[in-house]
């Protein structure tokens, strides 16, 4: 029994209601591929039966798994490079010049997936800033409980460490643990992971000096993008830095940000007086 049009619509509405993510028509293949493992784990032969089962007997656990499966996305170390190399070269010197010597620097990796982005930031700061593990606090959040747990564990497979992690950083910041690689205790101490739905009112956090909100806004409609940017801004220091994905911008979405060029990348800063 394949996924019917009604079943697909139900999934679309569920995902939009729970996460504000828009699944456009034509994404039936994605729903089928991502939900099949959940169907099988529940003893059901296909996704059509899974949707029917959850519609007729709602279960918060099954609903959570469906939403998580459809909102988990690819990640890698140093994704796109430049927004990360800008951190030690431009952002950190600017922050150190304006913050007190004992003041904590707070960085948010929003939609952190399995943690590669948060630990990329941690590695760069540990290499650039003596005593970073006590000076910097990185908050990593994701909608998915499974991704938050993976980030907390800081363990990565061979295939994952192959994806863009410089070999010199691998040997400096990780140790082999069987077939996996474990991030160092110092890096783990810098990173605190928690669940957070960007499309809902945000928990008390921050204020953040730097926010990485990369490859997230592309999944949302315009009103949700505007609401997210407004909430993120409220959690940032007035002179903070926001990094978006290469295909994302605040231009035409929210005019309370100023785009600044940082090396070969762009960042957005809260516009003064806006």
């Amino acid at each position: 029994m394949t996924l019917t049009a009604t079943g697909f619509d139900w999934v679309r509405q569920l995902v939009h209601r729970e996460s504000a993510i828009v699944l456009s028509p034509g994404k039936e293949y994605l729903v089928e591929a991502r939900l099949l493992p959940i169907a099988r784990s529940m003893g059901l032969s296909d996704v059509g039966r899974l949707v029917d089962s959850v519609r007729t007997r709602p279960s918060s656990e099954a609903t959570r798994r469906i939403v998580e499966a459809l909102t988990t996305n690819e990640t890698s170390w140093f994704r796109d490079g430049d927004p990360f190399t800008a951190l030690p070269s431009t952002v950190l010197p600017s922050l150190l010049a304006t913050r007190g010597p004992t003041e904590r620097l707070r960085i948010w990796s929003a939609a952190c997936s399995s943690g590669q982005e948060a630990y990329t930031i941690a590695m760069l700061l540990e290499d650039a800033l003596p005593g970073a593990s006590t000076r910097v606090a990185i908050t990593a959040t994701d909608l998915s409980r499974e991704m938050v747990e993976r980030t907390r564990a800081g363990r990565f497979s061979q295939l994952e460490v192959n994806r863009g992690l410089p070999a010199a950083m691998l040997v400096r910041h990780f140790t082999r643990a069987g077939n996996e690689w474990q991030v160092s205790p110092d890096l783990r101490r810098m990173v605190t992971a928690s669940e957070c739905n960007l499309a809902a009112p945000l928990p008390r956090m921050g204020p953040f000096d730097v926010v990485y909100l990369r490859n997230v806004l592309i999944y949302f409609d315009l009103p949700t993008k505007q609401a997210i940017l407004r909430r993120v801004r409220a959690l940032m220091r007035p002179d903070g830095w926001l990094f978006l994905g290469a295909a994302e911008t605040t231009l035409g979405v929210d005019d309370t940000w100023e785009r600044v060029v940082v090396g070969r990348s762009s960042a957005y800063r809260p516009l003064k007086g806006a």
Binding site: S76, W77, F78, D80, G81, N162, R163, V171, T175
Partner: protein, 127 residues
């Protein structure tokens, strides 16, 4: 850009060459370190070498050491592509002069990511 793919497995040479050609490289191949040195000494001037570790005649680590000892090949970017995955081996390869290290099995995306880190992706390759 040109690449020399060094591996004693013909299948692996083909896999790596196909990935590199997909990124816009022109490739040549050698079955061991000595064969690769012969190609370099004939005057072939690649931008990149991908190097397996365990090979007959001359292994990958020896090849890296010989290349690094010759100033004429200073500009050559060396990337180990090997199933050797112990931390100490990665340290040895980097200390000998390899720029990067890709552990087999790998996907073409992993090779592309490492080349991007090194600024060794020909223009126009999408990340």
């Amino acid at each position: 850009m040109r690449a020399l793919v060094i591996d004693d497995s013909r299948a692996m040479r083909r896999i790596v060459s196909t990935a590199l050609e997909g990124f816009g490289y022109e490739t040549r191949q050698a079955g061991h370190g000595q064969g690769a040195l012969d190609v370099l000494q004939e005057g072939y001037a690649p931008d990149l070498c991908t190097i397996d570790w365990n090979m007959p005649v001359m292994d990958g680590l020896q090849f890296v050491s010989v290349v690094r000892a010759n100033p004429a090949w200073r500009a050559l970017t060396l990337v180990m592509v090997t199933s050797e995955s112990e931390q100490g081996q990665i340290v040895r390869a980097l200390a000998a002069g390899a720029h990067e290290y890709v552990i087999k099995p790998f996907t073409p995306d992993a090779l592309r990511d490492k080349l991007a880190l090194l600024g060794m992706l020909p223009q126009g390759v999408a990340l």
